[in-house]
């Protein structure tokens, strides 16, 4: 009886997964078909060729990549010491830190960008007019994911013992941090970096409202001018996100306890 129930349960599960697969895969196939049909007859790769040869495609891709690198640097520089100190010395303020890293969910990008544009109007042009203000916002958006990755990674290694051991051998804090803790944290760092990369590469709202030529803004531009090209570009960006996700999985696969957050940051 139990075996019968289990089998029925199994088929039900398979049914749900099949439906899910249909719902998720069919739109992608539809996009693929649309992107391969710039004219009525036949299938051509013209749309892809046009996009890949468009200098704005490369430029916006690299621009977003550049922003992502800066965001990763800022986030890690700020959060690695913070997460480390919280674990080691200041467990009491952990709730405060966690609250602050949850706050970006309460202040979504559409709200944050309004606040940044308004609140920093008085700043000099190299900040307000350059992409630094955008990077600054991106780092805020990345905080929840970066902190979670680092936090998870830190929990998996025994910080206290490592720190104490290193200190008893005469190391200073900087040595402890850079040469003992960080190498053990590699998986968490990598997954934080890739999460931020995926977040920044896909982020549209802030780039659009601050009027910067990010990759997502470029996709929107194409979306308004070339339908077939936009379909091709959508699949290209899908492929690029896959690569980033595989990077996260690669990083997460190393070392027990190094779990990564894989939640999307762009809506």
């Amino acid at each position: 009886m139990a075996a019968l129930r289990r089998r029925r349960f199994l088929t039900l599960g398979v049914l749900w997964l099949a439906l899910a697969a249909a719902y998720f895969v069919v739109p992608l196939l539809a996009t693929l078909k649309f992107s391969l049909q710039p004219t009525r007859e036949g299938y051509h790769l013209d749309a892809y060729r046009v996009i890949l040869q468009d200098p704005a495609f490369r430029q916006s891709l690299f621009f977003s990549f550049k922003l992502a690198v800066f965001t990763v640097i800022i986030s890690l520089v700020l959060l690695v010491p913070t997460a480390y100190w919280v674990h080691l010395k200041l467990p009491k303020i952990r709730p405060v830190i966690e609250f602050l890293t949850i706050l970006p969910f309460v202040i979504p990008p559409i709200v944050l960008v309004v606040g940044l544009l308004q609140g920093f109007r008085w700043t000099p042009t190299w900040f307000y007019g350059g992409y630094l203000i955008l990077v600054v916002g991106y780092a805020i958006l990345a905080f929840p994911y970066v902190y979670r990755s680092l936090d998870a990674g830190l929990r998996a290694i025994d910080i206290h013992t490592l720190s104490e051991a290193a200190q008893s051998l005469g190391a200073r804090w900087t040595t402890v941090l850079f040469r003992v803790i960080l190498p053990n944290l590699r998986a968490g760092l990598l997954s934080a970096a890739f999460l931020t990369l995926a977040l920044v590469m896909g982020e549209f709202t802030m780039g659009q409202l601050m009027q910067f030529p990010t990759f997502a803004v470029y996709i929107s531009y194409i979306g308004q001018t070339q339908a077939t090209g936009a379909a091709a570009l959508s699949l290209l960006s899908f492929a690029i996100t896959w690569v980033a996700m595989l990077g996260i999985l690669l990083a997460a696969g190393r070392g027990a306890g190094a779990r990564a957050a894989q939640v999307g940051g762009v809506h």
């Binding site: 539809a30 969910f105 202040i107 762009v266």
Partner: protein, 303 residues
């Protein structure tokens, strides 16, 4: 790690206290000060700027008129539609996400099913914006392949029923594409915590599937489910890119209103965006507080 985190029966010895003399304690805080400064400057200060801006008019005088205008027809409709859309996609996304995640994780299917699902969920959750809009236009737009299929093979005119991709239910279908993966990712750890022994014990005691769900699985999962649902609500409520891509920003949704006011609509008070943003923050603040409370309860089952 605190005592709470360890499995029962294991006692942890507190780590040897390192030097925390007065001077040392001050150095310790230095490690977290940059983070606090940064968060204050670039998260709290903009938020406060919005809060203050919502109560000022163009000349800087204090006024309630902006906040009052939130209750006018146009913006009330936007808030109502946004909330309705977020609630519906949270419920549906939560339900389907739960069923799918449960099938993949607890359904005794091969390992690769779960891995594929999680990887794909990570990608799909990031697919929002123009790519997602185009994917659905290509699928159920006027010339979409499903529309054509329904017409040609089943004689069913989708658009004859009054369906539109920009109607409320059209948006729900599109939003679910990133809501369901979000649910899958968020609920996976909770489903991991649903021990198989419980199901077997329930079956041994004669329970069928629905009784198992009603008396064992759902009560255990409930705090996580509610927490995940709230997260989905927040995700849909703040979503901008997809709705913008579908209609160039002309649906009655709050994020689109804010975007329009900020970039182009010279007809309204520039501070109006602040009032709208403030409204959003309030709605989201309430939901996130609920979320934090529920997550504390959920943590019991995830050891």
């Amino acid at each position: 790690m605190t005592q709470e985190d360890l499995p029962p029966g294991v006692v942890s010895t507190p780590p040897p206290r390192s030097s925390t003399s007065g001077r040392g304690r001050r150095w310790v805080w230095l490690g977290v000060v940059p983070f606090f400064l940064y968060t204050f400057a670039f998260l709290l200060y903009p938020a406060i700027s919005i809060l203050l801006g919502a109560f000022q008019d163009e000349n800087g005088k204090i006024t309630m008129k902006l906040v009052a205008s939130l209750f006018e027809h146009g913006s009330l409709e936007a808030y109502w539609t946004s909330i309705k859309l977020s609630v519906v996609t949270a419920l549906l996304g939560g339900l389907f996400g739960l069923l799918i995640a449960h099938a993949a994780i607890a359904g005794r299917l091969p390992r690769w099913v779960r891995t594929t699902l999680t990887t794909f969920s990570g990608v799909a959750a990031n697919f929002a914006g123009v790519p997602l809009a185009f994917a659905f236009i290509a699928t159920i737009g006027f010339t979409g392949i499903i529309t054509k299929f329904l017409q040609d093979s089943l004689g069913f005119d989708l658009y004859g029923t009054g369906f539109k991709l920009y109607s409320f239910w059209g948006l729900v279908i599109v939003y679910l594409y990133f809501q369901i993966p979000l649910m899958v990712l968020v609920i996976a750890p909770a489903i991991d915590g649903l021990r198989r022994e419980w199901r077997e014990a329930a079956e041994n005691l004669g329970a069928n599937t629905s009784q198992y769900w009603r008396h064992v699985a759902l009560p255990v999962l409930m705090p996580s489910l509610l927490g995940a649902g709230i997260l989905l609500f927040g995700s849909a409520f703040g979503a901008y890119a997809t709705a913008y891509a579908l209609t160039s920003g002309r649906l009655p949704l709050v994020p689109l209103l804010i975007g329009n006011v900020t970039t182009g609509n010279v007809l309204s008070d520039p501070h109006y965006g602040n009032a709208l943003a403030l409204g959003m923050v309030l709605v989201l603040g309430v939901t996130m507080t609920l979320y934090a409370i529920l997550q504390r309860k959920a943590s019991r089952w995830q050891r």
